[in-house]
Amino acid sequence: MYVGVDVGGTFTDAVLLSNGVIRATAKMPTKADLLESILEALDVVLKDVNIRELKRIVFSTTVITNLIAGQKHDKVALLLIPGPGLSHKHYDFKAEVCVLSGAIDYRGREIVPLNEKEIEEALSGLAAKGFKKVGVVGKFSPRNSAHEKRVAAIIKEKYPDWQAELGFRAGPQLNFPRRAVTTCLTCATRGPYRIFVNSVRQALAKREITAEVFILKADGGTLPLGNSVEQPVETIFSGPAASTLGVQALTPPDVTEVAVDIGGTTTDIALILNGQPLLSAKGARVDEQLTQVRALAVKSVPVGGDSVLELSGNEIVFRPERLGPAYCMGGPAPTPTDALRVLGLTALGDEDKAREAMEDLGAPLGMSAGEAAGKVMSLVVNSITEEVKKMFLEWEQEPAYRIWELLQKKKVRPSIVAGVGGGADGFISQIASELGCQPVIPPYAPVANAIGAAVARPTLQVSLRADTEQGYYNIREEGFQGKIDRQSFNERKALELARERLLGKAAGYGLDVALDDIEVTYQEVFNMIRGWDTAGRLYDLTVQTPRGIAGRIEIGGK
């Protein structure tokens, strides 16, 4: 048996899953005390269950997202080692920034040394301003982390109570500005995230639950709860990932579909291409800044069932805020829900009030209540379908760097529009017909997010870079470095090495992974040239345990 819990800003949802069948669901308002909300939801779904049969619990949460959005965290300073390149004035990291001397190049060679006196001065300056949390981020630090580590060692010596996060661990991919943002967020959220993890642990201990516990990541993978404190930012924005995986579990396998989650004032759209949720090409965006966090490509459209409708000249338009519920449910202003009621597409609320709202809205334009409702309907549907079309187009236009990648990119179009979320019922068939798709509102749609958490498969990854000229390899995620034989090392050995490290890592996390299931997500081999000669080879590869869902939900029973 598996349990999925989605701790959202408004509701905490939970489901209990057994052999692909939903056994129980819960929906509770999220309270200020997270522990209490989690316990209440767990109590509902675990009623009459032998806790020993519980195999796994997966949490998804937006608490970290809310923390960042609300700026409710300690101030973080960034110590940057950018070296030459882009002018530093183009950096805008929304944090206190000190630029240090020093530079590493793309091959990991030191081209400018650190200046220790300058580092000490920068640190005492920060101390004077009251900073205790710092991110140390160097350009090309994933290729050589010596500078970052040296700065960290100085901090540890002079200010042992400070929290220092290093860029090569927080942001191991090539992208210095995103590495800086990711490191800064890691620094800000590690403490509060630990508190969240502790509440979860306490909640489980109180109920004597000993099942494996995982946390959902923004890319739809999961991390064991204990290890997730290493990379707290990976858990931001796992909400959209949860509902997307939920849709995946509730609809047929291998289809290309659009998951539409229509809420009160926003609609989240995700794409599932041939059964796989699409990843965002650029990483999650937090507070307008790009990070190195892999995330599903989810777009938000500022329209939902409770959006306020009004006239602007001779046009009906939305306002992106919520003034209250729909007019037909006692709210102050006309909303798309009123339009649905007039059109007979929902049974919610009072029909006469809905008609009154649409009449008032349409009267200045000479429209009847029915005409105004029709107009509103097409406005909502258009704004969503336009965004869906744009997402497919953007996916097609994503950069490719190899000929085979470019050539294999076939045009795909969805066959299903799956609706989840409170406002879905009335709009989905129109959206689907506009896109030439079949509409599906899966059963359990209101708790699709918790289902997504419950079915999410545990994932881990390992990135290896081996340099035969220098005679060593390193594992990016662990900062581990080992020797290789310059002569006999080859691509097969590089892969074996990476797989071995991944299996070892998985075992450490208590995960059972078969060698054959490991996916190679990135693989590059380059000759290194000195003058005209090949001086060595560079192997770059990433392997991961498979992402996705552990099983589908049987739908027949509803």
């Binding site: 030459p84 390149g85 882009l86 002018s87 530093h88 004035k89 183009h90 530079a103 190049d105 793309y106 091959r107 081209i111 350009k139 090309f140 090539l174 992208n175 210095f176 500005p177 995103r178 650029k282 790009l290 097609e396 236009q397 994503e398 950069p399 490719a400 760097y401 190899r402 000929i403 085979w404 470019l406 050539l407 990119k409 590059e524 380059f526 000759n527 290194m528 040239i529 003058g531 005209w532 090949t534 560079l538």
Partner: protein, 454 residues
């Protein structure tokens, strides 16, 4: 110049990591590896001033508009070539439509040694990306006047050949003196055909030229000429082998020099050409060019081993002398009469011999231009080739009608094409009808004609 406020710089980065001429050839897959590392690490693609595009493939039709590929386009191009040309076209399309401020196609393989007739690979090039893009712009955006500034260390002999007779395309190439470097051409007296005199400007520079003399050339020759010519679109064939670390060239230009050059030229579109110092030059030079195009501060871009270069007073005065000479040539551009040695009746003709170094092919051409009072005149090329290893490439007749041809030239060219199909010595006969965008190729062995229409 286009309105550019608030618009982005478009980038296509296509390193073609899975394509090489051969495993040990300088034009190989890892050429842009460290450039990729530098651009990605700097986060260039995330800047609000930059928009990254995925390339598309150019069509055989796009290529036939510019080249005569013998026997067919398909025989001379791989997907990598179509992608490089397609990338240039895509960005040009966006710029000409006003959606982008300017652009940079960071693509390989390069193209500026590819001439009008293509029988194989020359100087690492099969098809001329910039020329194909320029002809596309003229066809699809009605752009008439174009300037191409070739800043590769090698003479852009392919681009020169293609636009030699075209009065509406200004071709300027500076490069290391042809007496000291491949392809051994690009002297000041190579100035264009009788109808386009001085619209080809070659600026041979002595080995060891630094940023200082290069800026002198830009300020005192290139910019004034561009100012007179008033192009609607400026292309930069952005070779990077003038860099002081390049293994092929012997010049002393720095990344800062390239960035300043870009800033002064203000090209609408830059297209990568050569540059083989894949570690020591390309990552920095490409950064400099991108930042300069996007109007961003490039002064922090610096090679790790950068040191000040001094050039001799002799070198500087040598460059000044060349600039003066070319400026005088430019001023006399409309006063020159065709050399009578080359005039046969109504035609201007010249014999050319072309060597394809990569493929070991010798080609001999007889080029004939109709001297017409109403238009630039149609062009024919009678070409014959021998492979180094004895196999003949076959004789072919290529007829090209320019975009602005008059009706009498068009009729005569069409007639010539039909008559030549009956001549047994020609294995292939081609008609490139640019005004109607129809390209015909006739294969005498099979008696079949292929027709390409847009």
């Amino acid at each position: 110049m286009r309105e550019s406020i608030g618009k982005q710089t478009g980038l296509i980065f296509f390193p073609a990591f899975d394509w090489a001429i051969s495993p040990t050839h300088p034009e190989r897959e890892e050429r842009l590896l460290y450039t990729r590392d530098q651009i990605f690490e700097e986060g260039i693609m995330d800047l609000p001033q930059i928009s990254e595009y995925a390339p598309v493939l150019a069509t055989a039709h796009d290529i036939a508009r510019t080249h005569f590929c013998v026997p067919r386009v398909e025989d001379q191009t791989t997907e990598a070539h179509l992608i490089a040309a397609g990338a240039a076209i895509l960005l040009a399309d966006e710029i000409a439509s006003g959606r982008l401020k300017n652009g940079f196609a960071l693509v390989r393989p390069p193209g500026h040694h590819s001439m009008r007739v293509v029988r194989g690979n020359r100087g690492f090039c099969n098809i001329n990306n910039e020329a194909i893009m320029v002809d596309y712009l003229r066809r699809h955006h009605g752009i008439k006047r174009v300037a191409i500034v070739d800043t590769d260390v090698h003479h852009g002999d392919g681009t020169q050949d293609i636009f030699w007779h075209d009065p509406d395309v200004l071709f300027i190439s500076f490069h290391q003196d042809g007496r000291t470097l491949y392809p051994g051409t690009g002297f000041t007296n190579e100035a264009g055909g009788p109808k386009a005199y001085a619209r080809t400007i070659n600026i041979p520079l002595p080995p060891g030229t630094t940023d200082e003399s290069l800026m002198y050339v830009v300020d005192n020759l290139i910019l004034p000429v561009l100012n007179d010519f008033k192009p609607e679109f400026i292309v930069n064939s952005a070779g990077q082998d003038n860099h002081y670390t390049d293994p092929l060239g012997s010049m002393k230009i720095t990344a800062q020099g390239y960035a300043r050059l870009t800033e002064k030229l203000r090209p609408d579109l830059a297209v990568l050409e050569g540059g083989y110092a894949i570690e020591t030059a390309l990552p920095y030079v490409n950064m400099g060019i991108i930042l300069a195009l996007a109007g961003l501060d490039y002064t922090y871009v610096r090679e790790p081993d950068l040191r000040p270069f001094k050039e001799s007073p002799d070198l500087a005065s040598d460059v000044r002398w060349t600039v003066d000479k070319l400026m005088r040539q430019w001023e006399k551009r409309d006063l020159v009469v065709p050399n009578p040695e080359h005039v046969k009746g109504n035609y201007y003709q010249q014999v050319k011999s072309i060597y394809y170094d990569t493929d070991g092919i010798n080609e001999n051409q007889l080029e004939k231009l109709r001297l017409c009072g109403n238009c630039p005149g149609y062009l024919t090329i009678d070409t014959k080739a021998t492979h180094g290893y004895g196999r003949t490439g076959g004789r072919a007749l290529c007829v090209s009608i320019p975009f602005t041809a008059c009706s009498s030239c068009r009729a005569e060219a069409e007639d010539l094409y039909e008559q030549s199909k009956k001549i047994k010595e020609y294995q292939h006969v081609y008609l490139q009808d640019k005004p109607s965008d129809i390209f015909l190729s006739y294969d005498s062995a099979s008696g079949q004609e292929r027709r390409s229409e847009g």
